[in-house]
């Protein structure tokens, strides 16, 4: 019985934290402060928002009217397509955390991830109705679609900025600086990863060719 109650309570808490995303997007400064400091958010809700974002990205491909989005299905790899969101997100969280810990940032990696995901909320929130909307408008009314789509992205970007201000307890100037710096950190990480994997593959190729040579001579 207590287990059931706990479970139910946990679920209610989860719903509460998910619903809190709607408060965050309209009251970013207040919202992101309470998100971590008052424990009003949860990783589960953050995961849900990220999942919805990925879902809407895929649903967009299939259900948006071809007037606005033409999909060359032969060139689409769903996993790579999802990675185009997840990979930059992972780089962003790690890069941002790595930099801000060195410069008095108060946020932990978990908090950065959670706040960034909460910041993504406007994307699924606007893009889902936009999929339906795209099917009732014509090419002449494309501007509405474009503007709404742009709003969802700009809103999310501004929210993530606000989140960084509150989580790290930074000034606006410092946040902007570290956002740009995080961009460079992401590039450095990509560079190192590429270097790493090309080295590894060359190393492997070297040993394979030695092995082959030995086999030929034997």
């Amino acid at each position: 019985m207590t287990a059931f109650l706990n479970k139910k309570e946990g679920f209610t808490h989860y719903l509460g934290t998910l619903k809190y995303a709607l408060y965050v997007i309209t009251h970013p400064f207040d919202g992101f402060w309470d998100l971590t400091h008052e424990k009003r958010g949860s990783i589960a809700a953050a995961n849900t928002i990220l999942f919805l974002t990925l879902l809407v990205r895929i649903m967009k491909l299939q259900f948006t009217s071809f007037v606005f989005l033409q999909v060359y299905w032969e060139g689409i790899n769903i996993l790579l397509y999802l990675a185009s969101v997840l990979f930059p997100l992972a780089l962003w969280c790690v890069g941002n955390w790595g930099l801000t810990t060195l410069f008095d940032g108060k946020g932990t990696l978990k908090q950065i991830y959670m706040a960034t995901c909460y910041g993504l909320t406007p994307y699924p929130l606007i893009q889902f109705p936009l999929i339906l909307f795209s099917n009732v408008v014509t090419y002449d009314e494309a501007e509405f679609y474009g503007v709404l789509s742009a709003i969802s992205l700009i809103w999310a970007a501004l929210l993530i900025l606000a989140a960084m201000i509150q989580i790290h307890e930074y000034t606006v100037k410092k946040t902007l600086f570290f956002t740009v710096a995080t961009g460079f950190a992401m590039l450095v990480m990509i560079f190192i990863l590429l270097l790493f994997f090309s080295m590894i593959s060359q190393g492997i190729a070297y040993f394979i060719s030695i092995g082959r040579e030995i086999l030929f001579r034997m």
Binding site: F66, V67, Q70, N77, L79, F87, T138, L193
Partner: protein, 500 residues
Amino acid sequence: MKNIIKRISALLAGVMVLCSQPLEVCAEKGYTYNYDWWEDVQYSPDLYEVIGVFTASDLGITDKFSSPQGLYVCGSTVYICDTGNNRIVEMERTKFNNFSCKRIIDSFQGDVETTTFASPTDIAVSEDGYLYIADMNNGRILKLDQDLNYVMQFDKPVDSTIDPSASFLPSKISIDTAGRVYCVATNINQGLIKYENDGTFSGFVGATKVTYDWTDYLWKRLATKEQRAQLASFVPTEYSNLYMDTEGFIYACTVNVTEEDLAAGNATPIRKLNLMGDDILVRNGSFPVVGDLWWNGGTSGYDGPSLMTDITALDNDIYVGLDRVRGRMFGYNDQGNLVFVFGGNGNMDGYFRQPAAIDHMGHDLLVLDSVDCSITLFAPTEFGGLVYDAIEQFQDGKYYESGETWKQVMVQNGNYDLAYIGIGRSLLRQEKYHEAMEYFELKWDYKNYSKAFKQYRKEWVEEHIVMILLVLFLVICLPLFVGKVKKIKHEIDTADIFKV
């Protein structure tokens, strides 16, 4: 941890493979093709077949042509400028698949110094039967009557923009109904030279606007005088050929295109000029009117963009450009959609070594090859005939018939985008909007789809207006009603009378 690294590495490998994979396009197999909306090559049944390849000996002329440059068709008469032999061959199409030589023009009578030609490069015939000949190395355009009597000549224009010491080399000409002469001359890049019918020079037509962006401007400001002299000067392009269609518009083509311009979509190798010299070519196709879209020659060894050396326009507003790089012909319709591409380089019939000029006789096409010294005659196949029928029926306002013909085209080639769009446009005219939408959607024609959808949406709203209003009413009124009920309930619950 290992697992994660493995996964990320797999992902990165995937990204790298995706980025480094060259686009696999081989346009080298198959004779006739077209591009679909994605600019992928779609092979097609032939729209044209070779009826015959005619050399001088086939026409009963003893000495062979020498680098012929000009071709002109007037009714069933064909003129060939046999440039290297300084003569013009006039021949008649006697049968569907045969020509016979009518006469060889190598001199004329008249009160002028030279009564022979020096490298005649083009000929045109006016409506009242006068022959106009671009006598290139004599620096004049001759006007002769049908009995080869000298009438007049058009000389080098006197204009401050033309260097008086440079020789005048008229290469291609066209005549309008009023007897005005339009001329393309070598080394003159101000546009087409226009003469009035009395021989006076009246200006240049169709000069390309010279544009440069702010980076060019900045470079020029920073460069020294010597460096500036070395920078490429911004000059208008020189035309390579021109053709006057039945409505008096000039189709002109140029080979002065850069790959950068083509890639950026700024190049206009084919233009349609009105009397003011403005380019009025309709470019509504999903890709630009530039010939081939893929320039990597692969195994063929022919690299670079298509270079249009000549152009002709049929009476149904389909214009055909001739690409001298790959020996291909590109047919576009009046909306700028590609109708067909065929041809190639080689020695077989239907392939060329150095195509120089193209003209048409009805729906048939004639191509002059200046190295092979032959003309190739093409006639539409059954498939090509159907495509032309469908296009012409639509132009004549027979929308239903046009749709039916396009359906026959689609039976023969299910990959032909114009057939789907043609059926869609026919249905659109018949006000069958929903069916039209399906055809447009199949071939990604979102502009026409939007036209059909707009009408369909209007019809749908008119049919379902009661339901829409009902839903709207419910959506607006239901929350109000629920709120009211809740308020009353709250008042009852908290009312003083019920307090014990």
